[in-house]
């Protein structure tokens, strides 16, 4: 398993960061949708605290992913990918990265405008992004919610495209993002072996 990305595939760090992000995004989404319906209690407070900790983690992880991607590069799209598809893929990837930065920041702004403390897993207290502000508060929440649904739409497009590559076009796009052993870099099209 390689570390750096090359023109044909992803290295282990990129793959690990990708799937860790998937796990965190799904968890925080479920928690975020559930927590607002909770009755006021200590459990609700702690659930919000967990949501905030996960959001900060995603913010840091996304910064790390972008830094790693700048350093280690990204593989080329699989051969015979149409130009509009390359462009659509680039655009949706860029939008997802942007959303993964702005979504936690808007949550942070909402938290600050509401005048709540912000802790990362009870270990570190983070400063206010903006001062307490009753006017900014509902605005930040609207942006946070809007970005969430935008991310969900992008994830849906992203996953659908990956499945279309895998099941429809039967190329290596999806498989080369899967962790260890599934993908043999010597075989540019690993699904070919299972095909009759």
């Amino acid at each position: 398993m390689k570390v750096r990305n090359d023109s044909t595939g992803w290295g282990l760090p990129s793959i690990a960061l990708h799937w860790l992000s998937v796990l965190l995004i799904l968890s925080i989404a479920v928690i975020g949708l559930y927590m607002t319906e909770m009755p006021n209690s200590m459990l609700k407070l702690k659930t919000y605290a967990l949501h905030k900790s996960l959001g900060l983690t995603i913010l840091g992880l996304t910064a790390l992913r972008l830094a790693w991607r700048l350093y280690a590069g990204a593989p080329d799209p699989v051969p015979n990918t149409a130009r509009w598809q390359r462009r659509a893929a680039s655009a949706s990837h860029a939008l997802m990265y942007a959303t993964l930065i702005l979504l936690p920041l808007s949550g942070w702004a909402y938290n600050s405008a509401s005048n709540f403390a912000l802790q990362w897993f009870g270990l570190i207290n983070l400063p206010r992004l903006v001062p307490a502000d009753p006017v900014l508060k509902p605005l930040a929440l609207t942006v946070h919610n809007g970005l969430f649904w935008a991310l969900m739409a992008l994830v849906l497009i992203h996953a659908s495209a990956a499945l279309w590559h895998h099941l429809g076009r039967r190329d290596a796009t999806l498989v080369r993002m899967l962790p260890v052993l599934v993908h043999d870099p010597k075989s540019p099209d690993p699904t070919a072996e299972t095909r009759q």
């Binding site: 209690s41 200590m42 459990l43 709540f116 403390a117 307490a132």
Partner: protein, 189 residues
């Protein structure tokens, strides 16, 4: 010359009158509290409270503080927190709208400040609470009939059953709460 004479007369009157009663300027006076939640200190203030202050530094035996606090006027600059604070798990303003601090036992401290050993009634519970305060009459303050009383006391929130059960977790909401006040007073004659 006339002003100096007036000043002296007022000073004499001020020092002679014992068991002085004071009127609080509600515009400038504050009564608040500071706690800690999720590792961060927060402060709140009471917009409405009625202090009845009788205090003469030269005769502490007659001193008496009786402060009634409208708990629903608590404001920590955070809507969600204020709602929880006034709710049944904390202040329970619906059943106990008022808190009261009553002190009739006063001591002069070595550092020049004073201690009022009183009782705080909150949420139907009465517990001893000591308010340590400084008294600043000052020459202009006396002429203008104004004095400043600045004090602070420490309270354990669980003594008053503020946030019991799951809310008791001290890692999320600290048990220690300090109450602070700054009163601008003018004499009632």
């Amino acid at each position: 010359m006339i002003r100096l004479a007036a000043t002296l007369i007022l000073l004499v009157i001020a020092t002679c009158v014992s068991a002085r009663d004071w009127r609080t300027d509600p515009e400038r006076s504050t009564l608040g509290f500071a706690g800690s939640a999720q590792g961060e200190r927060f402060t709140g203030t009471f917009a409405r409270f009625e202090p009845s202050i009788r205090f003469d530094p030269s005769d502490l035996s007659t001193a008496r503080f009786d402060v009634r606090i409208d708990l629903a006027s608590a404001d920590t600059q955070n809507d969600e927190r204020d709602q929880t604070l006034k709710g049944s798990d904390f202040f329970a303003v619906k059943t106990h709208p008022q808190a009261r601090f009553l002190a009739e036992s006063f001591r002069a401290l070595a550092d020049g400040r004073y201690a009022a050993d009183g009782e705080l009634s909150l949420r139907g519970l009465t517990r001893p609470v000591t308010l340590v305060f400084s008294w600043r009459p000052g020459t202009p303050a006396v002429i203008e009939g104004e004095a400043v009383l600045e004090g602070e006391s420490q309270v354990e929130r669980l003594d008053f059953e503020l946030g019991t059960g799951d809310w008791a977790d001290p890692d999320t909401i600290a048990h220690e709460v300090s109450v602070f006040t700054r009163l601008f007073l003018s004499p009632i004659d």
